[in-house]
């Protein structure tokens, strides 16, 4: 074995030597190339056809090197340009032209024609006489029934319990396999103004049906990114019994108005400011983000907030006229998959971008 082993080791040393030798031999050839790579790249850039791209270089290390160089150069150019511009700006002083407005998703959005003008008489009349007008005229007090799909598990149960601490006057009931159409008349006779059903999939809440009673409308939401209280970092103490304040952001279109009113009518009229709790529904690109906070005024300018949880995201799937009736109900708005992004269906605030 040893006998055999020796020649093998010799062989390997030989090959190693060979490799080394070849490396040594190659190095002197390569080094000048490396040193003059900038010149070479420039010369290469001029000599190569205009379609030359770095990805055609087959040596990985070299390709990487070249790429880094290219990047550095670009960065340098950018910096110089910026410096130059700043100098010009300083030189011009007050006469300098206004800065360019950066392109953002928000300002690239096409104006939605359904955006509500607050002074519109017709909207005012419509909203003054719709199903929520009883709440907004302070004739009714909200009373919410929260239930789930049949046999809720794990997170869904806890989510319902925590929702009930956020919404005052909310009652959580076990579904007991009852049909929604049979629950609704009973709710109406017991003066409930909302029926909220949390649906789940594989123990995770994924849908919410929010039905305003006694005569609609019914909204169906997709629920995602649910974070319960226990999973939250830097969470405050559990919320108190005080009525929270409600903040509704960006519910600006006609559809947004109806949804916003729907959320507003979930909470009692007069918030208890002593509780310093606030529930936020923030609409951004048709997703509604819910957060629940406690705030404190540290001085006249600074406010501290502390999240109390839970937090979740909603997306409207459909808005139906009347109470829950998925088969024969008439839909005011149904989410449909758009083929062209700028085709323009009315969203809460539509996500449409200018076609470039």
């Amino acid at each position: 074995m040893d006998f055999i082993g020796v020649p093998v080791s010799e062989d390997t040393t030989n090959t190693k030597n060979k490799v080394k030798k070849t490396m040594k031999r190659q190095k002197p050839f390569q080094e000048p190339v490396d040193n003059g790579s900038v010149e070479e790249s420039e010369s290469a850039g001029s000599s190569f056809p205009p379609t030359f791209s770095l990805s055609t270089i087959k040596n990985k290390q070299r390709r990487h090197l070249m790429f880094m160089k290219l990047k550095q150069e670009k960065r340098k150019q950018k910096l110089e340009l910026r410096k130059k511009r700043k100098k010009e700006r300083d030189a011009l002083g007050d006469k300098a032209p206004p800065k360019d407005v950066p392109k953002t998703i928000e300002n690239q959005r096409v104006y939605d024609e359904t955006t509500v003008d607050p002074e519109d008489e017709e909207v005012a009349f419509d909203e003054g006489t719709d199903e929520f007008s009883a709440y907004f005229n302070k004739l009714t007090n909200p009373k919410v029934l929260i239930t789930t799909s049949d046999r809720p598990r794990g997170r869904t149960v806890r989510f319902c319990e925590q929702l009930a601490t956020v919404i005052p006057n909310a009652h959580v009931y076990y579904r007991r396999g009852l049909a929604l159409k049979r629950i609704i008349p009973q709710c109406v006779s017991r003066n409930f103004t909302y029926l909220m059903v949390i649906n789940e999939d594989r123990k995770v809440p994924n849908g919410m049906v929010l039905c305003h009673l006694p005569d609609g409308p019914t909204a169906h939401f997709k629920v995602s990114s649910v974070r319960l209280r226990k999973e939250m970092k830097r969470r405050g103490k559990d919320p108190t019994e005080h009525h929270p304040e409600v903040i509704l952001n960006n519910f600006s279109t006609r559809l947004g108005h109806s949804i916003g009113r729907m959320f507003a009518a979930l909470f009692p009229h007069d918030p208890h400011f002593v509780g310093r709790q606030v529930a936020t529904f923030h609409n951004q690109r048709d997703f509604i983000f819910f957060r629940f906070h406690r705030y404190i005024f540290k001085n006249e300018k600074r406010v501290g907030i502390q999240e109390l949880g839970p937090r979740f995201t909603l997306k409207l799937r459909s808005l139906q006229k009347g109470t829950f009736d998925s088969k024969f109900g008439e839909y005011e708005w149904v989410h449909k998959v758009r083929i062209k992004t700028y085709l323009g269906l009315t969203g809460l605030r539509t996500v449409e971008f200018k076609a470039e």
């Binding site: 024609e113 017709e122 006609r254 009315t346």
Partner: protein, 368 residues
């Protein structure tokens, strides 16, 4: 007011009780109502043309009043009491040589003769969803509703219906198929009637044949069909459902010829132009849309800014006026190629000469 109303080519009623006129060529919408005296019980249930020249619009309100709007003067000229809330909403309005036909949900069909107070009454059965008049024989009306099969009435002999549809055969489980007629239309020149149901069926009946069951039955989608309209070419029908799906169905075999996209909410009103391949639709999404039936593309979209607001747009029924759409088509044509423009005009003006003439007259008035 008068000038405004003469511009309008499409009339839309709203849930708030506002009558809206839309000028497609000018892309403007006007409200014809006093904003101060709006109430929810003025919700427009149904609309109809008051005379064959299309200068009057009849509006059936929720509170049982029928209002007459003159499109030439731009004001409401008349309002009469034709029922009350207890009898349900209006399901159909029609005019037959100066007498008015009304039908309410509870099934009371009345003929109000001009001048005299005596009315003829027919009980057509409960749960009526729609009453329609045969445009060629104006004393024929058809009714139908929930558990109320299609019936054809001759108003000159009101004691018995001339045709009562028979329910289709039991299904494969030998269960009775529920009846729910949602909308009716008369196919011109063939004496046939097409209906759509709340159970997403489209049926064609032939009252002239001894067969009382539908001669053609087809299904579209899985949601209740709310309304239908017959395009100018006879062999098809456009239906709409509660999810805002619109489809053109072929009446020869009952196959879908094409779908019309873009609606976000349930359809309440559909109307095809009597001569041009143009379709106007409106519904709960608070938009009036005008599609071309040829290539099914969207031609106009009007979002009544105020109307939405005002009206929830929900209870909307609308009527397309033949004339001005043409007028507006001219505008569009002139924007495109000149050659095509001439060709198109020649073809479209011939079949609807009368309306074309009226356009010209109206334009003159507007200029004055």
């Amino acid at each position: 007011m008068a000038v405004k109303s003469q511009l309008c080519s499409v009339w839309v009623g709203s849930e708030t009780g506002i009558l809206k006129g839309v000028s497609l060529s000018k892309k403007q919408a006007f409200n014809f109502c006093e904003m101060s005296c709006l109430t929810r019980d003025q919700e427009v249930c149904t609309m109809a043309w008051g005379d064959p020249h299309e200068t009057e619009v009849l509006i059936g309100c929720l509170n049982g009043r029928v209002k007459t709007f003159s499109t030439e003067k731009g004001i409401f000229t008349e309002s009469r009491e034709c029922g009350d809330l207890s009898q349900g909403r209006f399901t159909g309005l029609a005019v037959m040589d100066s007498s008015l036909i009304t039908c309410v949900e509870s099934g009371l069909l009345k003929v109000w003769n001009e001048g005299s107070s005596n009315t003829a009454e027919i009980n057509v059965g409960t749960g009526v969803c729609r009453m329609r008049q045969n445009p060629s024989q104006r004393h024929h009306v058809a009714t139908g509703g929930k558990e109320n099969p299609l019936k054809l009435w001759d108003l000159q002999r009101p004691d018995k219906s001339i045709f009562t549809a028979k329910n289709v055969a039991n299904d494969w489980l030998d269960l009775r198929v529920p009846v729910w007629v949602r909308d009716i239309a008369f196919i011109q020149d063939s004496n046939k009637i097409v209906t759509c149901t709340g159970h997403h069926q489209v049926r064609v009946y032939d009252p002239s044949s001894p067969q009382r069951r539908p001669v053609l039955e087809t299904q579209y989608g899985e949601y209740p069909l709310t309304t239908l309209s017959l395009p100018a070419d006879q062999a098809s029908v456009v239906v709409g459902n509660t999810h805002g799906q619109l489809a053109i169905l072929d009446l020869r075999k009952g196959l879908v010829r094409g779908c019309i996209k873009g609606l976000a909410g349930g359809v309440r009103g559909l109307q095809c132009h009597p001569s041009l391949p143009v379709l106007a639709s409106c519904g709960l999404d608070r938009f009036l849309r005008v599609h071309s039936l040829k290539d099914r593309t969207l031609q106009h979209k009007v979002h009544f800014p105020s109307m939405l607001c005002g009206s929830d747009t929900a209870g909307e029924v609308e009527e397309v006026k033949a004339e001005e759409e043409e007028d507006e088509d001219e505008v569009w044509d002139s924007m495109e190629m000149v050659k095509e423009h001439q060709g198109k005009r020649a073809t479209c003006e011939e079949p609807s000469e009368a309306s074309g003439n009226r356009v010209k007259r109206k334009r003159k008035v507007a200029k004055q």
